[in-house]
């Protein structure tokens, strides 16, 4: 061995010894007897004491009567830990809306324990991560806004990520499974998934996690998979709040249509179940018809047009879990010749056009937006997990109760008026609560993030033809 190598080996031995002592002290809970520690580490006694002496001189350790503890340096280290936490909150603070915008917690949520996922890997704080987003489809404006939101989250992280890759599956679970496997083979560190409930996709997610890839589900959970985290909004709150408003608006009596979203998507099922549970408490409310709409405007339009033909003026209210199909329903009433102010009250917001139509035709409306900003939050949660942080198993992005002016009921008060929320200056297809700022326009959306050379979004908004 050359002199230089020998010197390096000795030098490493001393540094390694010091690090081992600090690690052993942490494992021992902060205090340990010198002899136990020395024996455990197998360091020569003299070397052990010399290292301890040096570390104690720098106040990293404290030494007294055969025991070793943490020195006075603990106090400034705690301060630095606080600063680190503050910085982490600042990096991941895009999706945090004002808390005042929150809907009140449901009684069941208040009692729900909050649990956290342990990271699959540790100590990758400043690695640049490769992230994949597997998106079920782009078949409505909300899904376009979700993709824009994920892209915005990645853009905000900037050089902290190496690449964001996005794939759309056109509602085909087999295709989505294949895309997830492709993304994994591309070498991604973390994956965001929004999928219909399918054993195939659940299997692909489980395979990815076995390979050490953190997976954050967004918008829709998979019953067969246990991801790192699930980011959404309380669908039960959406269903319950809007149904209670409709029941109270009708003074507990009337005949209603129910137009839920997509049967294969758990959010739609949860909202419908929650709404049905509320209506069950109003025996004078009759449900005339329930039609799954797939959150598509044309199906919402067709369902209401059919119901108008069949039930005519008996219809006193329309419950929709989103304005995506709600706009089709309102347009069907207008097309059938119902005068402004006489169209039955509707529920379901999200889409700018829903607010425009409600205000223009004087339709009483209640909405709890399903915020696409959950895409930004999903990126933030994934980034935290990739850095080796614990993250909540479930993250609920807050949303507001929005009513048309004068439509408050005994139990449902607005946090925003629809008249203040609508954007007359922006396209009908704008999905509100996107977290992308007040100037966000889905037609003009351009974004830069690592992996996106031409600043084009992976989701181009499509103009929906009036039904």
């Amino acid at each position: 061995m050359s002199d230089v190598e020998d010197k390096k080996q000795r030098w490493i031995k001393g540094v390694d010894g010091a690090i081992s002592i600090l690690q052993a002290l942490i494992a021992q809970g902060g205090t340990a007897s010198s002899s136990t520690l020395a024996a455990e580490l197998g360091l020569p006694r003299s070397s052990f004491h010399r290292i301890v002496q040096i570390l104690a001189g720098a106040e990293i350790l404290s030494v007294g009567r055969g025991a070793i503890g943490v020195g006075a340096l603990a106090a400034p280290l705690i301060e630095c830990g606080i600063q680190r936490l503050v910085e982490e909150c600042q990096i991941c603070a895009l999706a945090n809306p004002p808390i005042s915008a929150k809907t009140p917690l449901a009684p069941a949520t208040r009692a729900q324990p909050v649990t956290f996922s342990k990271p699959l890997r540790v100590g990758r704080d400043y690695k640049r991560f490769r992230i994949g987003f597997s998106n079920v489809s782009l078949d409505n404006p909300w899904r376009v806004a979700l993709v824009h939101s994920v892209e915005h989250g990645a853009s905000h992280l900037g050089a902290r990520i190496a690449r964001l890759m996005i794939q759309h599956a056109d509602n085909d679970p087999a295709r989505q499974t294949e895309q997830i496997r492709d993304l994994v083979n591309e070498g991604i560190d973390g994956l965001i998934v929004s999928a219909d409930d399918s054993p195939l996709v659940s299997g692909a997610v489980a395979e990815a996690m076995v390979r050490g890839i953190e997976v954050v589900m967004v918008d829709r959970p998979l019953r067969g998979a246990k991801p790192t985290s699930f980011v959404s909004t309380s669908d039960i709150a959406i269903g319950r709040t809007t149904a209670l408003w409709l029941a109270e608006t009708l003074n507990g009596s009337g005949a209603i249509l129910m137009l839920p979203g997509k049967e294969e998507a758990e959010p739609a099922r949860l909202r419908l179940d929650a709404a049905r549970a509320v209506f069950a408490g109003f025996p004078q409310i009759e449900i005339l018809d329930v039609t799954w709409t797939g959150w598509l405007r044309r199906i919402g339009h067709a369902a209401s047009a059919r119901a108008i033909e069949r039930f005519g003026r008996r219809i006193s209210g329309v419950w929709c879990d989103s304005g995506l199909q709600g706009v089709g329903s309102m347009q069907a009433f207008v097309a059938a010749g119902w005068q402004n102010g006489h169209i039955p009250p509707h529920t379901g917001g999200d889409l700018n056009l829903a607010y425009k139509l409600a205000i223009k035709h004087n339709v009483r409306m209640a909405a709890v937006n399903y915020p696409p900003s959950m895409g930004i939050r999903a990126v933030e949660v994934l980034y935290s997990a990739l850095r080796g942080r614990y993250v909540p198993d479930r993250v609920d992005v807050p949303s507001e109760v929005i009513l048309t002016r004068g439509s408050a009921t005994l139990s449902i008060q607005p946090q925003l008026w629809a008249e203040d929320h609508v954007r007359w200056d922006l396209p009908d297809e704008l999905v509100l609560s996107s977290g992308l700022g007040s100037a966000y326009n889905p037609w003009a959306f351009r974004i830069h993030y690592p992996g996106n050379v031409y600043n084009r979004s992976a989701a181009q908004a499509v103009r929906e033809v009036d039904a």
């Binding site: 070397s47 009140p104 324990p113 909050v114 956290f116």
Partner: protein, 177 residues
């Protein structure tokens, strides 16, 4: 122990003491400030980074890493709580409108301050919960400080979230080895 070994440990101690000051310096600035060999500082920083005692920020400056915080928290027997407690406090902070604080005895381990308040908000409302039975050198407490002007429903939600956070913390305290 040889002079070379001793020199390595002295350098390590100086680096740790320097990063604990909170002054944002990179490895070469630390070498310059403390008249240490540049290559030694870079090599030791690499070892400290690997062990999690030091983190390198995007701008190259060094800060204490999670292992350094764990060492400090070990004073209160809470070394293994650093990461879960950080996640719980981040969650609580995102869930309420106000300040959240985790303490061991009279020492604040973590604090995240709420948004700026209006001077007309009135007195703050501080709510404190003890987390678990005292098992270490100090009692662990979580507290939130809310603006007095906060609506009653939001306040009730904040207290419910505080209780949920404390329950999560107690879960981690109870499951420690």
């Amino acid at each position: 122990m040889s002079v070379t070994e001793t020199r390595g440990v002295v350098t390590l101690a100086r680096i740790l003491a320097q990063v604990a000051t909170g002054e944002a310096l990179g490895a070469s600035a630390i070498a310059h400030t403390h008249s240490l060999s540049r290559s030694s500082v870079f090599n030791i920083v690499r070892e400290l980074e690997r062990a999690g005692f030091v983190l390198r920020r995007d701008d190259g400056t060094l800060v204490p890493g999670p292992a350094a915080t764990a060492l400090a928290w070990a004073t209160y027997g809470l070394a293994d709580l650093v990461e879960p407690a950080g996640a719980i406090m981040r969650w609580l902070y995102a869930s309420i409108e106000g300040e959240v604080r985790l303490s061991a005895g009279s020492t604040t381990l973590l604090v995240l301050a709420g948004p700026a308040r209006s001077p007309t908000d009135g007195e703050d409302l501080k709510i404190t919960r003890r987390a678990g039975e005292r098992s270490g050198p100090a009692e662990v407490q979580v507290s939130i400080t809310l603006s007095a002007s906060l609506e009653e429903v939001a306040r009730a939600d904040a207290v419910a979230n505080l209780d949920r956070a404390v329950a999560a913390l107690e879960g981690h305290l109870a499951n420690r080895p």
